[in-house]
Symmetry: C2
Subunit: 117 residues, 2 copies
DNA sequence: CCCGTACTACGACGGCTATCGTACGAGTCC
DNA sequence: GGACTCGTACGATAGCCGTCGTAGTACGGG
């Protein structure tokens, strides 16, 4: 058809220079997204979206992953039907040294406090 | 009078245990508030609200300071007509070691990038 | 006592956003 | 081709939030 058939199989990511601290913090200020990032960091490898057991529906999950991608926190690539997610650790460390690690430690501590409750 | 005379001169703060990472990150995800925290860290001493030159009205300023206080990021005490603000560095460092420093460095780097733009 | 300064309280408004359901497209496997 | 899985797009909804203006309170000084 006349309709341009733009294969939406490639996803837009911000370049390293386009990553903004405000956006990163906003992305991480949601409990669901913080949890995603924590699990991703523990995995040390790219995970498909469906590998996460989140307390929201699939629609909402898609939304959260997009927020993380558009803020530059994660990288997403299609692999067959699955979409693999990986932390953009290099970029984040280069831009904001120590921040990601501190955030991950903080998230772990908060989770521990919550468990003890 | 019969009216309980609750001197509103003392402000409610969360205890250290009540400080939540989600709330802290949310508080810091606003550019205005991040800027307040940066200036506060540079000052190394308590500052009155009016010491800040922010691009919002006084009403909004009050709002932002309240968010920071209620999330546990800053401490506020009245001193005459002024309200002095200080970072809760000890509490934050105890709860989330390294986080505040990493955030301050990140904020400084982001500001530098913005200036070069 | 009156005024000025510092900050607050309240209400309003517009915009963002987390959530969902449903309908759909892209790949894989039989 | 047909069915199944993974993920998307779109619309709707409800709640939160940043912003403001105005009116008001608390404190200190003349």
């Amino acid at each position: 058809m006349t309709t341009a058939p733009p294969s939406p199989r490639v996803l837009p990511h911000p370049t390293r220079d386009e990553i903004r601290l405000d956006s990163v913090l906003h992305a991480l200020s949601d409990p669901v997204r913080l949890r995603i990032v924590s699990e991703l960091a523990d995995a040390e490898a790219a995970l498909s979206c469906s590998r996460f057991d989140l307390p929201v529906t699939k629609s909402t999950t898609t939304h959260h992953f997009r927020v993380l991608r558009e803020s530059g926190v994660i990288q997403q690539v299609y692999e067959g039907t699955a979409k693999m997610n990986g932390l953009r650790r290099e970029d984040l460390d280069a831009l904001f040294p120590g921040l990601l690690d501190a955030l991950l430690v903080a998230a772990r501590r908060q989770a521990a406090r919550d468990a003890h409750a």
